[in-house]
Amino acid sequence: MSTTTTTSSSFGERLRAVGRQQFVWAIVAIVLLLVINVIKDPTYLSVGYSDNLGGLRGNLVDILRASAPILMIATGMALVIATGGIDLSIGSAMVIAGAVAMEFLSASGSSSLGTAALALLLALLVAGVLGVVNGVLVSVVGLQPFISTLIMMLAGRGIAKVITGGQNTTATSEPFRWIANGYVIGLPVVVLLAVVIVVAVGLIVRRSALGLMIEAIGIDAEAARLAGVNKRAIIFTVYVAAAVLGGMAGVFATASVMTVDVSNTGNQMELDAILAVVIGGTSLAGGKFSIRGAAVGAVLIATLDKTVVFLGVPSSATPAFKAAVIVILFLIQSPWLHTQIAKLRSSRTSSSSSPPTSTPPATSATPTTPTNAEVTA
């Protein structure tokens, strides 16, 4: 993905090139969190085989399992953000998909494989419709992405409540439950599915010109259009893909407990997705994305969630903590901090080596959307 490795042979330079890839730091963070857990409980990392379940179990497996829905939404969000957009309705896609699946399963009453497959298909389809609405509003009508997806975020949860009649619908379907709780060759199905989907999306966008076109739109939509990129179709596709991936995340989240919680399923998951994407090195200004980075970011968030619970911190505090992390990430990425550090350095050395008395960077508003401040990491 980032093939900008310098040909310089010095070891320090090469190490720096590795360090510049942001997701490497995310891996470091995951390891640190795991070390904290191991200090609390030395057996934390042990993975055993359970004959009851027919597969591996342990905290590491739990972390991977928890990261499956985040992997889905982070992948979708990475693509949307790369076009210079945002999808705030990803959590609502989750809850709508969950509501549709649970309602369908509880109404049909059958627990056959066919019903479960139909429920899965229906859930993804309805989530996809949400994406179609977003896609039309953004690409055809030309609304700002955040406003159309904000409407869908809040209205979507209302739609989910209408679907279930305000209830938290529960259903029983063994095949559907298998998606989240089953095992294949000793590995959790949900993790395998998530990995397959992420790899598939990654291959599709990076082995074809699609990824390049998405980035071109994110850099300059008008220039991309003039260069022959079908801007409308690609933006539309990206929003639909994000919503379908969100729907899959909703299936993962509801299938494990076979209940849809209309006010909590997928709630505030937008932040998880954005955070995972930012951690992975995707620029929020668009024009650059890394599926690999987003995937590592998703695993980091799942690790963080599990660690917080493991350490006994009330889980209601995690959103605040994540928000603080994202603010710190912005600070590290910002040119403002670098100019401040440079100022500090130049004043300390007090040498006359051209101290750039740079004012805080002027926001260069792009001509189309004034809200699109440029973030150059």
Binding site: Q144, A155, L271, I274, T318, W336, T363, T371, N372
Partner: protein, 350 residues
């Protein structure tokens, strides 16, 4: 803003003066494109009042009118807050969450025996701090406004949940409740009185203050100029950085104030208070004619927008056949319709 100036007689060959009333209306519409949504909101509000009066009755009477004002005073305040932000071309998604944090923290402090007036000031200050962080993120770290305020939304909501996850009841003898006491203005038959609360008065003062700042001060001019084109405003030597920060601090402080008014009326604060209020506030501002792209907007229009939403809730509850879950869906639909209307109007002007 440039509405009044746009009416200046120009050498426009298209509208002939002797044309019929229809042509005169379209001509007027052509010169008043930015204020068109505000007028549309006013017409819709009047239409809704008439419809509700005919279908359900008992709308145009003192008790319903005063309830509309009392129940929506907090919404009016945050609609004003969003008007400031949206005029600069930004957005503030954190208002609802800031209200939740501010009210939960305020009620807990008041119950811990703190002075009620100090608590009220602190509640506003909490909001201001969130606004300050948003503004700093946006102005100095170049974060997009909706991302920065989204982060603040989660931060405030998370902190509120950390403080408490159960409804916190304000003590019955607390002085904060005084803001929710009803003052009888007009004594009608039976319970049909026109009453207001100090909360309503605060909301009206906020509206007047906002109107004064936006239309009669340099700061207001700068805010409109930033929304028009930020770079031009900067090149003109206007204090863009300071004003942009200020706008978010205003928005945060007004959210804190809305928390005071809301808590005083309800007497209960909870971490899930204000979920989705950012949508209501944005909808109110947009219905009232504030352009989401910035540069144009009317604070009085936002008040109408807030009342349209309030009346919509009254109609939904009177009707009874619409499930309450539909409310956010309908609000979203209305907002979408107005955003599309704006889009059409702006496209036409271009």
């Amino acid at each position: 803003m440039s509405v009044q100036t746009a009416t200046a007689p120009r050498e426009t060959p298209t509208p002939t003066p002797s044309a019929g009333p229809l042509a005169r209306v379209t001509g007027w519409m052509r010169t008043h494109t930015t204020s068109l949504p505000t007028w549309a909101a006013l017409v819709i509000f009047a239409g809704m009042v008439i419809y509700a009066e005919v279908v359900y009755g008992r709308i145009l009477q003192p008790s319903t009118t005063s309830n509309l004002l009392i129940n929506n005073s907090h919404l009016i305040i945050i609609a004003v807050a969003l008007t400031f932000v949206i005029i600069t071309g930004g957005i503030d998604l954190s208002v609802g969450a800031v209200i939740a944090f501010s009210s939960v923290a305020g009620v807990m402090l008041a119950n811990a025996g703190w002075n009620a007036y100090l608590v009220m000031v602190l509640m506003i200050a909490f909001g201001a701090v969130f606004g300050l962080i948003s503004g700093w993120l946006i102005q100095y770290l170049n974060v997009q406004p909706f991302i920065a305020t989204l982060a603040m939304m989660f931060l405030a909501r998370g902190l509120a949940s950390t403080l408490s996850t159960v409804p916190e009841r304000l003590g019955d003898d607390s002085a904060i409740r005084a803001l929710g006491t009803q003052i009888k203005i007009y004594d009608g038959p039976k319970v049909n009185d026109f009453v207001i609360t100090p909360g309503v008065i605060i909301a009206l003062l906020v509206v007047l203050g906002a109107f004064f700042v936006l239309h009669r001060t340099r700061t207001g001019r700068t805010i409109y100029a930033i929304g028009g084109k930020e770079q031009s405003a900067q090149l003109m030597g206007l204090p863009v950085h300071r004003s942009k920060m200020l706008v978010y601090v205003i928005s945060g402080s007004l959210s804190g104030l809305a928390a005071v008014v809301y808590t005083a009326r309800l007497g209960i604060a909870q971490n899930i208070t204000g979920v989705g209020w950012e949508l209501d506030a944005i909808a109110a501002a947009v219905i009232g004619g504030t352009l989401l792209t910035g540069g144009a907007g009317f604070v009085l229009g936002s008040v109408i927008g807030a009342l349209v939403l309030g009346l919509m809730n009254v109609i939904i509850s009177r009707d009874g056949s619409i499930p309450p879950e539909m409310t956010t869906v309908i609000t979203g639909g209305v907002l979408l319709a107005f955003v599309l209307l704006q889009r059409a109007v702006v496209r036409r002007r271009e």
